[in-house]
Symmetry: C2
Subunit: 395 residues, 2 copies
């Protein structure tokens, strides 16, 4: 019996060239984050099912991979909810919340965390979307002042720059400003969520599109006019804590990276409570990463409120973009030692061993005499910069 | 409702100091392997359940984490075997076999693979054993000559050396020599497996212990005497392909790393067909890694036979040993910029930004005036080598 050799539906095998690119992206991000005082942690890929199921995961909960109970614990008569005791994590934020509650006595305050790891979602397979993909998050837990936002906004863009992206800008808004905008337009607070969904589409459908969208949702022309007018209001003219904070963040960060206020930036996740931000590139639609402040999310797992801000860089998108730009990771000198007669094996080994620790890549190949020409061509294709045929030559 | 904040049973949260050590070990291993011409690949953590269940996984199959089918595919009336369509991988060798069959046309021949990744086994939790742990494998696929063994045995020990282990040696044997030994002692081939189990224990129970063990299994004194005598036979006096190959491997490798023949080395896994080897340290019992040749394992997934040799380094054991030796990863210069009055925030940012890309770690802290002393002490404890209080000082 031969087996299906394709990877499981929606997952991928990663070949050497792609893996080298992924390692390069991961190392660049990690090194940049480390320079800015963040330290890496890791949580398990599997979490107790109660933690995952009772989270604010929204749509992600429908896409949960649940793990079957094992041995005596498995009762086939039980309902679906009793068949599983564990699940694969669908993001890194929920595990971080649990991790922080579990380990806070052993962590600095504030705690600046790097997380790099795979997450799993049973998404409908489609181009560029995988059921297992990597996330890279930085979070600062325990600091309520804007120094956290400023640290994140001078860290993540630096990594993006080092990865070779030039034409990007940071856009920033605040959940509280969005709310002020809706309320000051005499729109009922209940409609806040649905109005945000319309605003979020302005890049795609334009201001007129947003107008139509809001009208269809039953807003009056007066309300819509007020809202659209407010979208043009200068940040400096707004007089609230949120506006002052966003202005100050922009003042400081703009000395180093392009950053601008975007009153229509919404970001989907429901748990943000203050600043929200994204890195956008003019080279393509969508963002290279985003995040915001979530000062209440951790409350669920502790007895006291803990402020937190996070920024997730779009690892898979960045890898795809670099691949589409045909970016290759530079390789060191690669030397192949080829021999035909096995009596030269130990000589080939000796030549290779002389180069150990000298930053060169070496590899040994035993080749049949009638296949030498073909093999040498193949090694050139594989990127070997030097090919040495080992025989009775004096070195 | 507050949630259980411990990680799932048998799994662990990894804190910054341990994570830095794990990254150091992983990077050292990967860099050493890359220098020797190996390239990294990655397979998904989840595989189709048929692949996992129909493997030679032995004991590991009892410890499989199975994933529940989702949505319409889940039929609660179905038996246990129909409830699951996926599982978490329990090792990296089975996925490599599938990967190679799936991608061989896009891979060099021979293919020298690095795999570094987590595997999952529902083991009974015990000290030092986790249900999620990391494996680091190197394999050479497609080469039947001993150049593969020699490449592995000059690669893995180099990584172990770079990680600071001095007192280690490679021990080597061959499955074919084990068989010759059993058959030449007039022992029935059927008893090969059980005799190996006894031989494997010689380090723990001594030669007398092995004698008793074999006697209990019904072997005659003549057979046991022959077997024990053979254990002392010089490798040079043996006249078989296997003996000549092992001798040649030892001849070449011994110029670089200590290596010796061990006629009682067995190694558990059933799939080895030729050479088997381990790295042992005099500092503790057990091995730092091991492997061998498995020339038939891949046949299951292809139509033609493909030779292969692999070596798995004991990543978790090495991390534990370095931790017990209190090895810390050297950190770069760490500078904290501390300010009390928020008007100095932008100055603190500017000072930190001046150090970007200079191989230093910087971090910003807003501190309340009455807590400055305490904070400075805490930052020293956290390993900051320099603490700069930012105020109206001229720089």
């Amino acid at each position: 019996m031969k087996f299906r050799t394709k990877p499981a539906k929606g997952t991928q095998d990663i070949l050497p060239e792609d893996m080298a690119l992924r390692n390069y992206v991961q190392d660049t991000i990690r090194n940049t984050y480390r320079e800015k005082g963040f330290t890496q942690i890791q949580t398990p890929s599997i979490e107790n099912i109660e933690l995952l199921s009772n989270s604010d995961g929204g749509e992600n909960l429908r896409m949960l991979f649940k793990i079957l109970k094992r041995g005596e614990k498995l009762d086939l008569q039980a309902g679906e909810n009793d068949l599983s005791d564990l699940g694969l994590r669908f993001d890194l934020t929920l595990p971080l919340s649990r991790f922080y509650a579990n380990n806070r006595n052993d962590l600095p305050m504030p705690f600046k965390a790097i997380q790099i790891g795979d997450v799993w979602r049973a998404e409908r397979p489609q181009k560029g979307r995988y059921r297992q993909f990597m996330q890279c998050d930085v979070d600062i837990i325990g600091e309520s002042s804007i120094v956290s936002e400023i640290e994140l906004l001078t860290t993540v863009p630096e990594a993006i720059k080092r990865l070779g992206f030039d034409n990007f800008k940071i856009v920033i808004n605040d959940r509280r400003l969005l709310k002020e905008m809706v309320l000051s337009s005499q729109i009922d607070e209940e409609l806040f969520g649905t109005v945000c969904i319309s605003l979020d589409k302005v890049d795609k459908i334009g201001v007129e599109g947003v107008r139509n969208d809001l009208a269809e949702k039953g807003l009056t022309e007066v309300q819509i006019d007020a809202l659209i007018k407010r979208m043009d209001t200068d940040l400096a003219s707004l007089d609230s804590d949120a506006a002052r904070e966003i202005k100050q963040i922009i003042d400081v960060v703009s000395a180093y990276y392009p950053v601008e206020f975007d009153p229509t930036l919404v970001r989907g996740m429901g748990y943000y409570t203050g600043s929200i931000f994204e890195v956008q590139s003019s080279e393509f639609k969508g963002s290279l990463g985003g995040g915001g402040r979530y000062d209440t999310l951790l409350n669920k797992y502790q007895n006291d409120p803990i402020p937190a801000v996070g920024f997730s860089i779009g690892f898979e998108r960045i890898v795809d973009l670099l691949k589409s730009k045909n970016v290759k990771v530079e390789t060191e000198e690669k030397i192949a030692f080829v021999y035909i007669d096995p009596i030269y094996l130990s000589k080939a080994v000796a030549l290779s061993q002389e180069l150990v620790g000298k930053g060169k890549i070496t590899s040994l190949y035993q080749v049949k005499k009638n296949k030498v020409g073909k093999k040498l061509n193949r090694l050139k294709e594989e990127g070997f910069t030097e090919i040495i045929v080992v025989d009775n030559l004096e070195m």
